[in-house]
Subunit: 235 residues, 2 copies
DNA sequence: GAGAAAAAATAACGCCGTTATGCCATACTG
DNA sequence: CAGTATGGCATAACGGCGTTATTTTTTCTC
């Protein structure tokens, strides 16, 4: 039916692109090897020769998701106030999740698509993405703004708190979006105060981060689908 | 093969029991209509006549999950310090999630088993379970311990924060359990401070709740599988 | 150009949720 | 008490899924 596919990398990236589009447009249920291959004009076997199975393709999506998150993080410009930067990272995290909801669900929702589950290496890769936030927490601590000396702990607090909000938000447990917004803002300030900042300073920082939201949050390019440099990862 | 089934309610509760056992023992992947029916010695059709499909049976699991959560909540005895009570609710929430990890994943993980998704009514039911926590937050506010006057907001902050930790914990993103414990304790104190309590009072409350953990957290009965009183909910 | 190696197509296996059909015991009805 | 109808369950089938074995095609290498 379709013109003959010439070489290999073409079909591989085509499969990734189509999978990403299906995931974004129709959600995780639409991610099936048969569907993707049919949409690419090839047979189901292409998924196996290129990714070693469905789980390999899902892994590609997960890594793409972390790349997008890292992209948002890298576009957070320092404001001079490390606590405000911290809040900006929180906003970037939530913005990324709300922009790519289905992708985020695959990354953290434990959707277990096609029997996929993250390997220890994958999890380490995911946690590595937060290193930028850990560095920011270190700056906050060095500036004497936080009570604790454990930057990683603070980063994990921010991460888990925002993940919880976003997860329930995406699962429609927080029905009205304004609810989620209010909880998010309150959580941000409460966290900054709770880890040691003063009420006034934390409020100022979070408010300033809110003001910078529009200009800071969007990355330059529209986060295109990228391929991993390393070799195949058969499930 | 099996002796003739006499009446209806027997097979129904058997299906629920087996489904709950399969979910707890082998995880969400083991929850299939065919498997459950086979384990019950009946045919697949029993799932449809009793629950209108797989989604109905999953819904039963979700309601059971909320019942267990409510059971843990109802066994939280007031300590006299409302903020300590608040921390106890947080501990009860996490304890329930870690005790029934697969059930918790079905409730909030968006696993989308058998095309199941919560209806608006279901979500409302889930949020209603938190009303106990909202009342506790009200007591905290009336005691002048919290800065805000919005008890529901505070309850949602606690909820989302702990859910985020638990979700990542169950997804093995927080690799070492001691990590999760540390983040949980820090999150609890940070939240209590952040929403308005003083450093000393919050630390005292959270510490006292930690001391009460062993005796308070376990409910009397082992949370048996119950049936919903209402009629069938065909998907 | 010929042979070797990689990739894709075809077809099959076993699982899934779901549905249509028929049986048969139960529960009403006269 | 007999006859009937209702409804729960079994049997079997349909389409779709991930996966695998086999065969065919392509592509690279010598």
């Amino acid at each position: 039916m379709s013109p003959r596919r010439r070489s290999k990398p073409q079909t591989r990236s085509a499969l990734v692109d189509i999978a990403a589009r299906l995931l974004a447009d129709e959600g995780p249920e639409a991610l099936s090897a048969r569907r993707i291959a049919a949409e690419a004009g090839s047979s189901t076997m292409a998924v196996y020769t290129n990714f070693g199975g469905m789980s390999g393709l899902v892994r590609e999506m997960v890594y793409e998701g972390f790349a997008r998150m890292e992209n948002y993080f890298s576009h957070v410009a320092p404001t001079g106030d490390p606590v405000a930067d911290m809040a900006l990272f929180g906003r970037a995290y939530r913005h990324n999740a709300l922009t790519n909801p289905h992708l985020y669900a695959v990354m953290f929702g434990g959707a277990s698509l096609g029997g996929f589950s993250l390997s220890a290496e994958d999890r380490q890769y995911g946690r590595f993405t937060l290193s930028t936030v850990v560095e920011c927490a270190t700056r906050c601590i060095e500036a004497g703004r936080f009570r604790t000396g454990d930057a990683e702990l603070v980063a994990h607090q921010l991460w888990t708190a925002i993940h919880g909000l976003v997860a329930l938000e995406l699962g429609d447990y927080l029905i009205e979006p304004c609810d989620a917004d209010r909880v998010f803002e309150a959580q941000l300030t409460s966290l900054m105060i709770g880890v040691g900042d003063t009420l006034e300073a934390a409020t100022r920082s979070v408010t300033s981060s809110h003001a910078r939201l529009a200009t800071e949050i969007e990355p330059a390019e529209p986060a295109p689908v990228t391929e991993r440099p390393a070799g195949d990862r058969t499930a």
